[in-house]
């Protein structure tokens, strides 16, 4: 008892930070194969999307119809925002994961609903309030992880509980509606040039900005540095805690944005809107090639994985397969994608 108590506080971090991953990819050394694998992965995902689309169109004659493709992307917009945030948090390394995205979305949605309905403010102002709420909820996660030092898994598990329950308490356990003013429904229920508004004006810009930030800006470079080697990053002057906290804030803000998109799509703010969404978000991030250990992955992979999951889900829905079966399939896809990653990694070494 005593032995473990005095020795261990130092050991786990040392063991974890220094053990398996640097052996696999020292900075620079096998960067070539890593990027090749990533390129291959995007090609692989593209192939899978085409295959899935082909199979689904055989299964259901409605699959390729315009209205179905529209409905598909409407659903994908919400999920995509969460998955992009999750990708960033995982990329930041240090065991980074955000289990609370679903609950953050629920709670921001309730904040949106209460601002627009109970306070009677303009829905577009409520949108800003909801996004700010999301950022703040993400900041709580970020500070727990970086300042207090709570492992991300436990910090966000705690806030998963906390935010989900706070959403229910604030909403009194019922849905909030009656915020369809100032053309708010346009965001979730209209299309511009055949593309749903929330995809054209929210998801695609969010993706574009994040892709730019991650691959063309100093912040993006710092995220990859922190994610692949925390110690080296901090020695070169990168402020590790600040970078990671920002990532949780971005994830929270995107969840807030997702809650608003969901609310304008369904014209309803459910206190349980985000329940279970964390699993889907993590699945998509990992399926897209983001290594759970951090530092490896691209938002483009997440985008392709999102497309694949949306195609699969909507195809199954058309084929009359129930929602719960889709959850099980997603779980299987998640595990299979990690196994595949390991096999590919082994084959290339």
């Amino acid at each position: 008892m005593n032995r473990t108590k005095t020795v261990t506080p130092v050991l786990p971090t040392a063991g974890r930070a220094g053990s398996p991953q640097p052996r696999r990819r020292l900075p620079g050394a096998d960067h070539a194969w890593a990027s090749r694998l990533l390129n291959d992965r995007n090609a692989l995902l593209l192939g899978l999307i085409l295959l899935a689309g082909f199979v689904m169109s055989l299964l259901s004659p409605y699959f390729l119809r315009v209205d179905n493709l529209l409905a598909m992307t409407q659903y994908g917009a919400v999920l995509g925002l969460l998955a992009l945030g999750q990708t960033l948090v995982i990329l930041g390394g240090g065991g980074g994961i955000d289990l609370s995205v679903g609950s953050t979305m629920s709670l921001s949605g309730v904040v949106f609903g209460l601002t627009a309905v109970s306070l009677g403010l303009d829905p577009w102002i409520a949108v800003l309030v909801a996004v700010v709420a999301g950022v703040l909820l993400g900041a709580v996660n970020g500070l727990l992880v970086t300042v207090v030092g709570v492992p991300p898994l436990i910090a966000t598990l705690g806030t998963l509980y906390l935010y989900a329950s706070a959403a229910l308490v604030l909403a009194g356990g019922v849905d909030i509606n009656g915020f369809d003013r100032s053309g708010f429904a346009q965001l979730g229920q209209s299309a511009i040039a055949g593309i749903p508004t929330q995809v054209l004006l929210i998801l695609l810009p969010a993706y574009g900005v994040l892709a730019f930030v991650m691959h063309r800006s100093r912040f993006g470079r710092e995220v990859y540095q922190v994610g692949s080697n925390q110690l080296a990053a901090s020695l070169t002057g990168v402020r590790v805690a600040r970078v990671r906290t920002s990532l949780y804030c971005i994830s929270g803000g995107l969840a807030g944005l997702a809650s608003v998109v969901m609310a304008s799509w369904l014209l309803n703010a459910k206190p349980t809107a985000g329940t279970g969404m964390e699993l889907q978000a993590i699945t998509i991030a990992v399926l897209g090639g983001t290594a759970i250990t951090g530092g490896v992955g691209r938002v483009s992979g997440t985008f392709l994985a999102l497309t694949l999951v949306v195609v699969l889900n909507s195809g199954l829905q058309l084929a009359g397969v129930s929602n719960t079966w889709q959850i099980g399939l997603l779980g299987a896809v998640l595990i299979a994608s990690i196994l595949l990653q390991h096999l590919l990694g082994r084959a290339r070494r």
């Binding site: 108590k5 053990s19 436990i154 329950s165 079966w325 099980g328 990690i338 390991h342």
Partner: protein
């Protein structure tokens, strides 16, 4: 310096008992019905299945893993229990089958984590989704009602003490003995502290990891036989509520989520804190919607305090060495 460090260390180990006593005092002031033998027997009966899952979860967390699929695994096993009870199967066979089902589900997690090296959180998030679908498919829109499997697995009391407590006590005693006195226990701590060092020291990490998930699975199966007696019905999402509560019991008890440090008795303390909290706030007249809020806050505060205290003690000891 050293004196200061040991004070903090002592404060850290005393924190949970202090919180427990504070909790007892607050709730007995808030509700006259709280402080009675009958209520405590009631709390114990309601927590018995959770206690078994939390015990197994302790092993997995000690080696640096986690299992977020345990709740739905209880649900799947419970479906088999309730269905078999409906066809007049003898109790021993029901228990045997439930434990076997639990073992099989645990073995799947164990294989993914130990043999295929899938990170535990990813593997069990995946299997949680698969078990949820499995339960949904088995349930097939028909709730299965069932009587308790046996009186020892139910809330029936002898001299005011629920019989099921015996099962819980035996499980905790055996696991405590294994963790503190057996090589398997030492191996778990070693792997949790530093998996690479453990492997280099000749510990069969794959086998030990697999076994830990298997044991959790077996306990999940046993918990399911109690769950059915307590709840009386198996539905599409049965058992799910146990997952986070079990993890919360372990970490609130003070077992490190990073692995390598903790004990099964701490889990018992964390469990007591959480189930008494749940019972107390209901008796105090707080709406049940607040339940998750309390538990979420408890997890975050307990873990934060623990980490801050650990950090200052290590800083103190390192300072005195240097």
């Amino acid at each position: 310096m050293t004196g200061n460090a040991t004070t903090l260390q002592r404060l850290r180990t005393m924190l949970l008992p202090i919180l427990l006593i504070a909790e007892l005092i607050v709730f007995s002031l808030l509700s006259p019905r709280f402080l009675s033998g009958d209520n405590f027997a009631n709390i114990a009966v309601n927590a018995a299945d959770l206690a078994l899952v939390a015990a197994g979860m302790t092993l997995v967390i000690l080696l640096g893993g986690i299992d977020v699929s345990a709740g739905f695994a209880v649900g799947v096993s419970a479906w088999f229990v309730a269905t078999l009870m409906g066809s007049a199967t003898p109790a021993w066979a029901v228990v045997l089958l439930s434990v076997t089902v639990g073992l099989a589900l645990g073995a799947l997690n164990g294989a993914l984590v130990a043999a295929f090296r899938v990170p535990a959180i990813i593997a069990t998030l995946g299997t949680a989704a698969i078990f949820q679908t499995l339960l949904f498919a088995l349930w097939n829109r028909t709730d299965v009602f069932s009587a308790p499997v046996a009186s020892i697995l139910s809330g029936q009391r002898v001299l005011g003490v629920p019989q099921v407590l015996l099962v819980v006590a035996v499980v905790y005693a055996v696991l405590h003995w294994v963790l503190t006195r057996r090589p398997f226990g030492r191996d778990l701590f070693a792997i949790g502290s530093n998996p690479d060092a453990a492997r280099l020291a000749g510990i069969r990490t794959t086998r030990v990891t697999f076994a830990a998930y298997g044991i959790l699975g077996g306990l999940v199966g046993l918990a399911a036989t109690i769950y059915v007696g307590r709840v009386g019905v198996v539905q599409a999402s049965s058992g799910n509520e146990l997952t986070l509560l079990a993890i919360a019991s372990v970490v609130v008890g003070g077992t490190s989520i990073l692995g390598g440090e903790g004990s099964i008795l701490r889990t018992l303390g964390g469990l007591a804190f959480i189930v008494i909290l749940q019972n107390g706030i209901v008796l105090a007249g707080v709406p049940p919607l607040w339940n998750g809020l309390m538990i979420g806050l408890t997890i975050i505060i307990a873990v934060s305090v623990d980490i801050l205290a650990t950090r200052s003690t290590t800083r103190e000891t390192q300072g005195s060495v240097a």
